[in-house]
């Protein structure tokens, strides 16, 4: 199909970016591709706001007594860092940007099932962000992103309600995105696009949407109850007034543990696309990779109690949650092994997206395995609420999820913008990020095992060396994240023109021109082959 497109310089082809101009054409668009770019711009802004707080945190912790901030300010910094990065960057990152852009393209649809709801979800996201940013500007909030009662509902004197309202509102954006994807994937697949021909990214988005739909409403109601308690001084979670603080934790983690998989499952989907494309091979064990996504989505809802092993939860409940938490490790392991096996006898090239993909596998392996320490009751007692936890979830949420997000952005950038970025710079940035990341977070595993609790504005002097190492790594990491911002923006104007399929990848999104026309495909495609059907030798090994 792409051959029929003439990329003449004299009469530019009409595509989704140049079909109309002006602010209004963007703010009122219902085109999923434009909405994806709106999301891209807004979450990038939030990423750097959250990153700014991270830099302040690490700078502050260079000295045991705290180098920079008052303890109250420090508490606000890590709270805002967590809230912004989780609710306003990681959760919408891959689903709302890459998912929005790619799901219709990958399944051969003209748009999502409900384009206006898609736009609405972006506006909801913006309103939620504004609430949260207003809370920051007017003084911030200091409860930690977990909003534990009764600190948040009675004792904190900061802007808990406004921030919680921001998170509550943004939750609906996440729900609507998930709803849109589920309906689209069920009802709008092109002829011949059966479930087992779907790209694994779509499977991952489907599993992610399940979590968004089933989990987010529970967070919403929990936040409302918390707000009610704070506003009316009635006891829902506060023991002095007759409530139980552990109920808040149960309801909060019922959403917030699966939410970790809202962040990592899409990354796993991106990973499957990258590994196959740059190995020029079919995925190893398609069915296992596809179903492990669904298995993770289901199991993720059964394990929340492992956040509460030392909280005063019944030891028997702890036992149940522990065994279930171990189970969720299995589908993750299956994925890692299958990606590795996909590279076996492949034809591997190392463009920037593949470097991110390889970094993802390594960091996810470490992040996942250190999770075993926390699923296991006896070691969790020691490691809970220490820097070990901080290191573990940053390996998952930054090391893996952000790596995959950047890998995906680099992979589909030519499709989204029609331009190529300088691959040398991109590889350099990937390397810097990998090194910086490990230097930042590996020392935190040691700190946690030594017993340094998290959320400490100052700490005993013997922890200083590891903290300084971590802060040094953070500065490298910050540079690593700034480099892509520069060259990607540069490439939008000056980058070489990309053709429809610069990587020689498989998948419907590569069969339409870059950037795609508003309607995605001139003719509805008909799918006749399995996913990742790269040319192979005659010999079949099964």
């Amino acid at each position: 199909m792409s051959h029929s497109q003439v990329q003449g310089e004299t009469s530019p082809r009409v595509h989704y970016l140049n079909t109309s101009y002006g602010i209004k054409s963007w703010l009122l668009t219902t085109d999923h591709k434009r909405i994806a770019l709106l999301y891209l711009a807004s979450i990038t802004l939030m990423f750097f706001v959250g990153g700014f707080f991270a830099v302040l945190i690490r700078l502050h912790l260079i000295e045991p007594q705290g180098a920079l901030l008052e303890p109250e300010t420090y508490n606000k910094m890590f709270t805002m860092h967590g809230i912004i990065m989780i609710f306003f960057f990681l959760i919408p990152s891959i689903p709302a940007v890459l998912g929005n852009f790619l799901v219709p393209l990958m399944i051969g649809a003209r748009d999502l099932a409900f384009p206006r709801i898609n736009l609405l979800s972006w506006y909801i996201y913006v309103v939620g962000s504004v609430f949260t940013l207003v809370a920051i500007v007017t003084g911030g909030v200091d409860t930690g992103w977990t909003f534990y009662a009764p600190y948040s509902s009675v004792y904190s004197s900061t802007h808990v309600i406004v921030t919680a309202l921001g998170v509550f509102i943004t939750g609906f954006s996440s729900i609507l995105t998930g709803l849109n994807f589920v309906v689209t994937i069920h009802k709008m697949r092109a002829p011949g696009m059966t479930w087992f021909r779907l790209p694994l990214f779509v499977w991952a988005m489907y599993a992610t949407s399940m979590i968004q739909i089933l989990g987010t409403p529970v967070l919403a109601i929990t936040i409302v109850l918390l707000g009610l308690e704070r506003l009316l001084h009635v006891g829902i979670f506060t023991p002095a007034l007759g409530g139980d603080p552990l109920l808040f934790q149960h309801m909060f983690w019922f959403y917030s543990h699966p939410a970790v998989y809202i962040m990592i499952l899409p990354g796993m989907g991106v990973e499957s696309e990258l590994v196959t494309c740059f190995s020029k091979k079919r995925i190893f064990g398609y069915g296992f990779v596809a179903f492990s996504s669904v298995a993770i989505a289901v199991l993720s809802f059964l394990v929340w109690g492992h956040h509460m092993f030392v909280s005063g939860q019944s030891v028997y409940a702890g036992l149940i949650f522990s065994v279930l938490s171990f189970l969720v490790a299995i589908p993750s392991a299956i994925k890692v092994f299958n990606w590795t096996a996909t590279m076996y006898k492949g034809s591997i090239s190392y463009q920037a997206p593949m470097l991110y993909a390889m970094g993802f596998i390594g960091l996810f392996t470490m992040g996942g395995l250190t999770g075993l320490f926390l699923a296991s009751l006896a070691t969790d007692v020691h490691l809970n609420s220490t820097y070990f936890i901080v290191a573990h979830f940053h390996y998952i949420m930054v090391g893996s999820a952000v790596m995959a997000y950047l890998g995906g952005i680099h992979f589909w950038w030519p499709k989204m913008t029609g331009r190529l970025y300088p691959d040398g710079w991109a590889r350099f940035a990937a390397l810097i990020i990998f090194v910086g990341f490990n230097l930042t977070f590996f020392p935190q595993f040691l700190l946690g095992y030594l017993g340094m609790p998290r959320r400490y504005a100052f700490y005993p002097p013997e922890f200083q060396v590891l903290n300084v190492m971590s802060s040094a790594g953070a500065s490298i990491l910050a540079v690593g994240y700034a480099i892509p911002l520069v060259y990607l923006i540069w490439s939008m104007r000056y980058g070489p023109i990309a053709d429809s399929n610069p990587w020689g990848a498989k998948g419907l999104e590569w069969e339409t021109p870059s950037p795609p026309p508003t309607e995605n495909f001139e003719v509805t495609p008909v799918v006749t082959e399995e996913a990742y059907n790269y040319p192979t030798q005659e010999v079949a090994v099964v």
């Binding site: 748009d111 999502l112 099932a113 709803l179 849109n180 529970v218 109850l225 007759g242 139980d244 109920l247």
Partner: protein
């Protein structure tokens, strides 16, 4: 594009696909609603298990007669809503409008009974937590907890009904303009799903709040 009708959005191939997507979309939305109310029901269940005695004391301050009456009102409104969908399917515009208006009237009646005979009474009896709660008894904090759940759950339910009334108004206006045909009545059907869901929530609220622990 020649055979495309006004009712068909550009992203769909045909009206059948559009109808299925709309219906599935509403069902998925109702799943989120089930989890939303479900979170409340879960919290309620746990506190009821912990403080059974106090919850029974609180429950006995509610008037079963109004609860049962309102259940009947809501069930009737569900019937008229189902008949409205039937009318839309068979292209009977007059009956569609009548049934929708009946549904709205019954919904309004429900809220009126709730507001005047129940919440009003509770307010005068100083049973509203956070506003004027005064309760003489030995298990006070947990009785207040019951009333908190009572007001929050019925309040959330009433809010959903108000939204439902808004949707109905829109449907009546659309129906009067003749927007719905036996080929295209998706909005009526999915709004019906929503209305029935709100009914189901009440079907559970009634025994949980009013009949808890018996009335003997």
């Amino acid at each position: 594009m020649s055979e495309r009708t006004l009712a068909l959005a550009h992203q769909f191939e045909d009206l059948g696909q559009q109808h299925e997507a709309g219906s599935l979309g509403m069902w998925v939305f109702l799943v989120t609603e089930i989890m939303f109310f479900g979170g409340l029901f879960a919290a309620y269940t746990i506190y009821r298990a912990l403080y059974l005695q106090a919850f029974e004391v609180g429950s006995h301050h509610l008037d079963v007669r109004f609860g049962a009456l309102n259940t009947a009102v809501l069930i009737t409104s569900s019937l008229t809503m189902a008949l409205a969908v039937h009318a839309a399917q068979t292209g009977n515009r007059r009956q569609l409008i009548t049934c929708l208006i009946l549904t709205m009237l019954l919904g309004a009646l429900f809220i009126a009974i709730k507001l005047i005979f129940e919440w009003g009474y509770d307010y005068r009896e100083h049973l509203v937590p956070g506003i004027n709660f005064v309760f003489e008894g030995k298990v006070t904090p947990h009785v207040e907890l019951f009333f908190l759940f009572y007001f929050f759950m019925t309040g959330m339910h009433a809010l959903h009904m108000l939204i439902g009334l808004g949707i109905m108004t829109y449907l009546v206006l659309q129906a009067r303009r003749g927007r719905f045909t036996p080929e295209y009545y998706s909005p009526v059907e999915v709004s019906g799903l929503y209305w029935h869901f709100v009914d189901i929530v009440w079907i559970f609220l009634f025994p949980l709040l009013y009949l808890i622990g018996g009335r003997y």
